[in-house]
C-alpha cells in the first residue's frame, strides 16, 4: 500500500543515523505549568518518549493530561523546565515558526473538531489546503489516507451523517494525512462506546506501526491495563507512574491481535483471519 511504503522509505532515511544519536521524540525535563488563575496544570514532570513508541497518558480528571498536550503543541509556555521535541527546545521556537512546527504533529481530540459543512474528503483535504498543499498533493494523499482509515465509502458524507467512531476516524485521517512523526490524541475515545473505541485504538496502533510515535491521553484505565503498552500516570500534575505494564510485549503484534488484546484481558485465541485482519496485516 502506497502510504506504508512511502512511510517506510522516510523511516529508512532517518534510520541511517546511529541509534544512540537519535534524540528522543519528546523530552520533558522538570516541566511545571502554572496557569494565570494560579492552578497548577503540571508540576515538575520529567519523562521522555523514544521514537516509534506508543505511550498512554492516564490519570484522573484535572491531573494534567491535556496540559501536556497543550504544551506539546506550544499552545502554552511552561512556567518552568524545558520541553524538547526531536532534540529541539520548544522555548527557543519562534512564535512565527509554530505553524510549521505543528505541521509535524498530528493532533486528535475527544470532540473530533470536524468542520460540519464539509464532507469527509474536504475535512481531510482542508488540513492540506491550509498548509499550502497543492491540488495534486491533495489528490494523491487524501484517498490514500481515507483507505487506511477505512472511510473510502464515506467520502462524500458530512460529519453529521457519520457515527461517532467514523467521525473520529476522519479526525485521525486529518491528523495523519501529512504523515507526522508524532501523533498526539487527547481522549480520542472519550465519546465512544467500548467496541468503537477499540476500533480507534487499532487505527492508532496501525499508525504507530508505520513508525509514527503515538501519545494517547485517556481515562480508560481498564483498556490501558489490557494493552501492555507504556503508561505514564499523572496525579495532580505530577508523574506518579511511568512503566511498562505487566506483559508488555517487545515484539510487534498485528493490529488484529492488538484489537483482540483490547477486547479480552486474556491473551487472544488465534482466530481465523477475516478479510479485515488480512488487510490489517499488510502493515
Amino acid at each position: 500500500m502506497a502510504i506504508s511504503e512511502r512511510h517506510a522509505q522516510q523511516l529508512d532515511r532517518t534510520a541511517a543515523r546511529p541509534d544512540q544519536q537519535v534524540p528522543n521524540v519528546v523530552e520533558f525535563r522538570g516541566v511545571s505549568m502554572q496557569f494565570n488563575s494560579g492552578d497548577m496544570g503540571l508540576e515538575d514532570a520529567t519523562f521522555s518518549i523514544r521514537r516509534g513508541e506508543f505511550v498512554f497518558l492516564v490519570g484522573h480528571t484535572g491531573s494534567g493530561k491535556s496540559t501536556i498536550m497543550r504544551l506539546l503543541i506550544k499552545e502554552h509556555e511552561p512556567t518552568a523546565g524545558s520541553i524538547r521535541v526531536a532534540g529541539h527546545d520548544l522555548a527557543k521556537l519562534d512564535r512565527k515558526k509554530v505553524p510549521y512546527y505543528r505541521r509535524n504533529l498530528g493532533i486528535v481530540f475527544q470532540d473530533f473538531k470536524l468542520l460540519p459543512d464539509r464532507t469527509v474528503h474536504d475535512n481531510v483535504a482542508y488540513a492540506l489546503q491550509v498548509t499550502g498543499g497543492h491540488r495534486k498533493e491533495i489528490r494523491a494523499k487524501v484517498p490514500d489516507i481515507l483507505r487506511l482509515t477505512g472511510l473510502s465509502t464515506k467520502l462524500h458524507n458530512f460529519p453529521d451523517q457519520l457515527s461517532g467512531g467514523e467521525q473520529q476516524r476522519v479526525a485521525v485521517a486529518r491528523a495523519f494525512v501529512n504523515h507526522p512523526p508524532l501523533l498526539i490524541a487527547d481522549e480520542p475515545t472519550g465519546n465512544l462506546d467500548p467496541e468503537t473505541s477499540i476500533g480507534i485504538m487499532q487505527l492508532l496502533y496501525r499508525i504507530n506501526r508505520t513508525g509514527t510515535t503515538v501519545v494517547v491521553a485517556t481515562h480508560d484505565h481498564a483498556m490501558v491495563d489490557r494493552m501492555r503498552r507504556r503508561v505514564i500516570e499523572l496525579n495532580g500534575g505530577r508523574v506518579v507512574r511511568d512503566e511498562l505494564t505487566a506483559g508488555y510485549r517487545q515484539d510487534e503484534v498485528s493490529t488484529g491481535e492488538f484489537g483482540a488484546l483490547l477486547r479480552e484481558p486474556a491473551p487472544a485465541p488465534r482466530r481465523l483471519p477475516d478479510p479485515g485482519d488480512l488487510f490489517d496485516d499488510a502493515f
Binding site: 512546527y101 473538531k113 489546503q129 491550509v130 498548509t131
Partner: protein, 298 residues
C-alpha cells in the same frame, strides 16, 4: 489555487452572515454616496466663492452734477495715479439708466428724470486689496467720516460684506459635510469590523482547526480580509452605479442651465469614481484589520 481558496472561504462567510454583511454593505453605500455628492459640491461651491471673490468691485459714484471734464479727470486718476487698480469700467448715467430700466421698467417709468450718477466700476488687482483701494480713494478723516480724494467723487463703496457672507456660508457647508462624511466613514469601519467579528465567531471552528494543522497566521487572516474588502467593494460599486445613473439622468441634462454644475473646476467623474472605490476598499480593509487585531490572536 491559493487565492481562489481564500475567495471561496470569504464567500462562504458572506453567505453565512447575510444580515450583518448587508448592513455593512448598506453603510458603505451611504458613505460613498455622501462622499460622491460631497466632493463635487464642495469643489463647486469653493469654485463659486472664489469666483465671487474675484469679482469684488469697488464702485466709485460721481456726483450727479459731474461734468464730462470731471469724468475724464477721475478716469485718469483711477487708471494712472492709484495703486491696487486692476480694471476700470465706466458706466455713464445714461447706460446705468438703460440697464436699470430694463431690469425694473415700471419703477423707472414713474421716475421722470434719471436719478443715477455716473459710475466707475473698479476691479482691484487682488480681491483682498478691495478695502485698501477704498481707503485710498476715500481716506477716513480725523473726524471719522470719509472724504473723497477728488471733489467730483460722491461715494466709494465695495461689496466686501456680501463676499464675506458667501465665504462663511461655504465654509460652514464644507465643515458640516466633512463631519458628516467622517461620521459615516467611522460608522462604515465599525460595521465592517462588526461583520468580520461575527464571521470570526461563526468560523471559530475553522480557525481552531487551521491553527491545529499548522496554517500560518496570514493564511488564517486572508479570508477575513478578503471578506471585508469584498463587502466594501460591493458597497462602493453599488454607490458608484447610483451616482452614475443620477449623473446621467439628473445632472447632465441640467448642466447647461447651471454654471455651478458644469464648473470646470469640479473633479472629473472617472477620477471621482476611482477615488470613491479606493476609499471604500480602504475603509473595509481598515474595518477588517480592526477586528482581526482585536479578536484573532493567532
Amino acid at each position: 489555487m491559493r487565492f481562489s481558496f481564500f475567495l471561496k472561504e470569504a464567500m462562504r462567510s458572506v453567505n453565512r452572515n447575510a444580515i450583518p454583511s448587508f448592513a455593512a454593505v448598506a453603510s458603505v453605500v451611504v458613505t460613498v454616496l455622501v462622499l460622491g455628492v460631497f466632493i463635487p459640491v464642495v469643489q463647486a461651491t469653493t469654485g463659486a466663492a472664489n469666483e465671487v471673490r474675484g469679482r469684488v468691485l469697488v464702485d466709485v459714484f460721481l456726483k450727479t452734477d459731474a461734468k464730462p471734464a470731471d469724468v475724464q479727470r477721475v478716469r485718469v486718476l483711477l487708471s494712472q495715479k492709484t495703486k491696487h487698480v486692476g480694471k476700470v469700467q465706466y458706466v455713464s448715467k445714461a447706460d446705468a439708466y438703460k440697464q436699470e430700466k430694463k431690469r425694473n421698467p415700471e419703477a423707472y417709468q414713474l421716475l421722470g428724470s434719471n436719478p443715477l450718477p455716473d459710475t466707475f466700476r473698479v476691479t482691484p488687482d487682488k480681491a483682498d486689496n478691495a478695502l485698501a483701494l477704498r481707503d485710498e480713494l476715500a481716506p477716513i478723516s480725523a473726524s471719522g467720516s470719509r472724504t473723497s480724494i477728488d471733489p467730483a467723487i460722491d461715494k466709494v463703496e465695495n461689496r466686501k460684506d456680501q463676499t464675506g457672507k458667501i465665504l462663511t456660508a461655504t465654509r460652514v457647508v464644507k465643515l458640516a459635510m466633512f463631519m458628516l462624511a467622517a461620521l459615516l466613514v467611522i460608522a462604515s469601519i465599525l460595521l465592517i469590523s462588526n461583520t468580520i467579528r461575527l464571521s470570526l465567531f461563526s468560523r471559530r471552528r475553522e480557525v481552531e482547526v487551521m491553527k491545529l494543522v499548522g496554517a500560518t497566521d496570514w493564511f488564517i487572516r486572508w479570508p477575513f480580509v478578503i471578506e471585508g474588502v469584498v463587502l466594501g467593494a460591493l458597497g462602493g460599486v453599488v454607490a458608484i452605479l447610483v451616482l452614475l445613473v443620477s449623473k446621467i439622468a439628473l445632472i447632465d441634462p441640467l448642466a447647461s442651465d447651471f454654471a455651478l454644475i458644469a464648473s470646470p473646476k469640479t473633479i472629473s467623474f472617472s477620477l471621482l469614481v476611482s477615488l470613491l472605490f479606493a476609499a471604500s476598499v480602504t475603509v473595509s480593509g481598515l474595518g477588517a484589520g480592526l477586528s482581526l487585531r482585536r479578536f484573532l490572536r493567532v
